[in-house]
Amino acid sequence: MQRFFLKYQIIAILFFLPVISFAQTDSLQNEDILNEILNDQIEDSEDESVTDAVEFLLNNPININKADINELQKIPYVDFATAKIIIDHRNRYGAFFSTNELYSINAIPKESMSRIIPFLTVENPEGKEDISHQNVYPETSPLTNLKINLRSRMLNDLQERKGFKTNKFNGSSHKIYNRIIARYDYNFQAGAVIEKDAGEASFADYQSFHIAAKEIGILKSLVLGDFSIEFGQGLALCSAYGFSKSSDAVYPVKKKAAGIKPYTSTDENNFFRGGAAGFELNNLSVFLFYSNNKFDANIDSAAGIILSRPIDGLHRNQNELLKKNSAREKIYGAAINYSFLNSISAGFVYYNSSFTNPFMKDEVFDLDGNEFSYSSLFYDAVSGPFNFFGEFAFNLSDNKIKTPASINGVQISFSRDFIFAASIRNYPWNYTNLHGQGFGEQSGKTENEFGIYTGFKWRMPLGIFNFYYDQFKFPFSTFDNPLPSTGDEFLLSLSSKPIYKFETKLYFKYERKDVSINSEKNKISVKRNRQNSRIELIYELSKSIRLKGRFDYNVFRVDDANTLEDGILFYQEIKYAPVSVLNIYARVIFFNTDSFNSAVYEYENDLTGVLSNFAMYGEGMRWYLVLRWKPIKKLSLSFKYSETYKPREKFLSSGDSQIDGNLDNRIGLQLDFNF
């Protein structure tokens, strides 16, 4: 029996090898995959670090012969059940010879597999990399194992914005980004990023660099320079990377902490600078980290108190430059992680953070003082179809005993086709959190929230059905609400392929939340209802042409304020790839919403590494053209032109970014060199 399977696998490999390896070396497949993932996973996030995180995974593929079930789940689209199938296959038939062998697993559809494979690599027993695998930087010179990727990007608004018209800014309106990453062998990497935002004078207003090594003896990972760090469910330490609740009801529930990772994003105020190292000895991993990093702050000059922490990273004139890097945070900490029985792991993290200046305390549960420390315990256990995971995080800052912030969850793979996930989170108001980002309703905040989430994903003959229901409560006042508030939401999505190469996606989300509105005399708390319905059609006509159409209908309702608004968004897209090294995307979008309340988010294709997820509102249209061209293996060029037109407006946007007129257009150009 086993022999028969082996034979079958070899046939499968021989059959797929030429096609796949060709596609991976020459085409723009990875860029396409990156786009598809973001399109599917992003709801209303505008967080660019998600792009970087997915790209990092593409460039640092996971060794399929070594990975455990948790590591595999870092890959987008790989849920608990899929990871289990892959691991079971490996346990049964032994190590994989090539990633293409994965196509022989019948339980995972070929199309899903082709989205997973770019994230994987095979290291055979001699320790050499699998020949059929090529990552984003496919060129390997026979003489050296050094690979260099150079990325240079320029974005520019074609309409002059108010801040530039009034000469408020020192620099030009170009946004310029340059990045270099050098990799040596599988183990070493060095990189640097410089960036200038629109209006900034210096080309290197933001600078970041790192040197990193991984998997050398007991040294699992080492980063000197800028790094990000994540453990457990991210309650104590987490980089911004995290898919929030999305049309995939199971994937985002459990965080897959990346540990120590070099930092290459452009979020200027959310990373560590210093050094971090992780060691692995048998089943025990130990991590140490130290960071001493400046950040932007508005500081009261007399008292030396931090009034606020602007996170936009804009330093366009003297005023904004004043706040640049005006305060400093010093962090040290350590973590351990122990895994046993191949299926259970538990860990502990502690860190201490001290600031040069104390924070101004203006609300009951704000940061107070200038010294903080946190610790947390986290666990992950797999048993049969069950996967339990969770974290308890303690705020030790002022030596008072406080309730820990906690999240506990379970994933159950009842069958290959049905996965259930649930979690309970409890983030107390006094867990004033510094660098954590737990799963929840509030983005970037892991405090003052209690919630219960349940969801499932069901692969039916009809298609893939996702459902989740999330109930949440904010026991104390929040930014929008002076009173305790509650809310809930549910989502239904069904994606099916009724006809060969024709895909339909139906989506419905309903959210109910307490918000405060100003009534005649005072603020009152009212229920806000938001509904989003969507139909999406995708047809792959041929290898070179794909059509996509989407229709969105949003309803925004506050009964107590007699507010009823709606909005539609409607687009048609064509992707044309006349040859495998050239991709052209064109999309026309028409929208009409009563106000920003009923805005519809529209995720767009963009230059690789740029995340475009715009809230479209008002009445108007938008269109864009994206070109990606790889004339030679060493070079790829991308270009984007986009235009938003709102016929009834006299001006667009507001403040310094106001445009006189009703047209907002922009171009972007990017070069990627690979040596």
Partner: protein, 272 residues
């Protein structure tokens, strides 16, 4: 009467100077839900991609003598399609209005047929408007469209009108900019069900549906609706030899009933 004329003008001109008059008694009977059907010569004015579905010579005339009972709004169209080795080319024209206000349009289109599965087309329009004692203006604008066979029984079509956002005089948005997309599904061999969404940049999106039932080789009946404006439509088609005669009527909630008719001649009925 004058009040009604005024209302009609206002209704059809809520945004634009030019009126949205469109040809085809078949299209009218289906309430313009047929973006993915687009298989006669009048597709030139809607989804030009549909033209290369017609690989024979075809000519059509259409006349709507008095929309909403107003002869001042009378409009007429004519179009001709010529099949070429690669795709189809068509030319057509329109006239609308009366002695005080007149619009004329000349349209030329081309559609390319890829494997009888994917059709893509474009049309260029030269549109003139003249208002007595006020003067006149003219503009060029372009339309594009696509149509694809997802299966033998399911088609998907879309168009984008006035992609260059041409306009009359200095005022913006006088010629409608429209995005339309629709599906056409053959429930049975002789019944097709159509649905479309049409969004004019300056108006609310309209959902349109329509059904066409070919009773036999001579007779078809059609009916449709649309919600913006609220409209109900119905019509018949009679086919005899080379000639198709189509009649349609539709109701507008405020303006009442409109009748229109058209004749299409197919010079190659074998391929029909």
């Amino acid at each position: 009467m004058h009040l009604k004329l005024l209302t009609a003008f206002f209704v059809s001109f809520t945004c634009c100077v030019i009126a949205q008059v469109n040809p085809g008694a078949r299209q009218a009977a289906l309430s313009n839900s047929d973006i993915a059907l687009s298989d006669d010569v009048f597709s030139l004015f809607y989804n030009p991609a549909g033209l290369s579905q017609i690989n024979w010579r075809e000519a059509g005339v259409y006349y709507s003598p008095s929309p909403f009972g107003l002869s001042e709004l009378a409009n007429g169209f004519a179009a001709y399609n010529e099949p070429l080795p690669f795709g189809s080319a068509a030319i057509g024209g329109m006239t609308y209005g009366f002695d005080l206000y007149r619009e004329n349009k000349i349209t030329a289109g081309y559609s390319y047929n890829y494997n009888n599965k994917f059709f893509i087309g474009g049309a260029v329009n030269y549109h003139t408007v003249s208002i007595k004692n006020y003067g006149s203006d003219a503009a060029f604008y372009f339309n594009i469209g696509g149509l694809v066979y997802i299966a033998d029984f399911l088609r998907w079509g879309f168009y984008f009108h006035n992609i260059n956002r041409a306009t009359f005089s200095a005022e913006e948005n006088q010629i409608p900019v429209i995005l339309g997309s629709g599906l056409s599904y053959d429930v049975l061999e002789n019944i097709s069900f159509n649905i479309s969404v049409i969004k004019d940049l300056d108006r609310k999106a309209s959902l349109n549906g329509g059904i066409e039932y070919n009773l036999n080789e001579y007779l078809s009946i059609r009916s449709g609706f649309s919600n913006e404006p609220s409209k109900f439509s119905a019509g018949i088609g009679i086919k005899y030899s080379l000639i198709n005669f189509d009649y349609a009527m539709f109701t507008h909630q405020d303006l009442g009933l409109t009748h229109q008719a058209g004749i299409i001649i197919r010079f190659d009925s074998e391929k029909n």
